[in-house]
Symmetry: C2
Subunit: 148 residues, 2 copies
Amino acid sequence: MSKTPFTTVINLLRAQALIQERFSGELGSVHGLALNEALLLMHLEKAPLRRLTRVDLAKRLHASPSTVTRMAAPMEKIGLVARQADPRDARLAYVVLTEAGLTLVGDVRKTLERRSSELFRDRWSDAEVASLAKLLGRLTAGELGDLA
Amino acid sequence: MSKTPFTTVINLLRAQALIQERFSGELGSVHGLALNEALLLMHLEKAPLRRLTRVDLAKRLHASPSTVTRMAAPMEKIGLVARQADPRDARLAYVVLTEAGLTLVGDVRKTLERRSSELFRDRWSDAEVASLAKLLGRLTAGELGDLA
DNA sequence: CATAGATGCTTGCGAATGCAAGTATCTATG
DNA sequence: CATAGATACTTGCATTCGCAAGCATCTATG
């Protein structure tokens, strides 16, 4: 039995920790957001009508609905998102991206794209990065919400 | 400017969430450990004398020293690790793997290796998995503690 | 139309974690 | 040897998160 799959998993966990550390700092100091909050805004940006229910957001963020409720509250307070009811189903409380949120998420995306490029700037060819993206994409093929 | 690096980072974050979800369940129910606790034991297993200081463990786990202190306490209580003083430096409090811990970490490793294999069982050739492992390994080249 | 089950959201509670401060010890400098 | 700074660990406090329970609403069935 080969141990290559295990090595792959371990390396992936390490790479994720590296990225989290590198990105969280600038994201927090420049935009005042945590990485998860940035991902939430980007999911809304990609969604039809720029809105999603809390349950849908939870699935895309791999979080619980209660976490999404609590994440959205302060972002609503500062005007990045708003709460929107559904006229047909009174249970639903959409989280909808505001104009301010749309502007911010554009800046956030630029920051993340720049940091991502820096991550591969040295010792990586374009083909290698593309190969890595493709392999990782296949790993998560059945998942919701692409963001990219 | 290409967006491939950004796509790569997003896919990596998604893949990490997938792995965390798939592994945590069995790790907890079968061995009674969280993923981070399993990683802690595996770092000890790889270390000389099967022991590390809390600060060294924190670096390898990408956690704070206080987190390591609190993680080690219950594992010491159930006999997986022990506390060991350094005769030359009274500040150091090594976390050392016990025999019971060594036995458990062997089982845990087998579980993780099997789950990792299942992750790539369908639609992946050996060469593709090896390629992914290599690319991820390059991303974390400068880091401590290999585990694999 | 009435009821049972399913779904979406929120809240209480406990667990995990980081930061900052405090203590103990070591090391370098004079 | 005395002192200042560095290092290792721990603890108090605040934050974040998931689970379970509760409430409101919707849907299916009779």
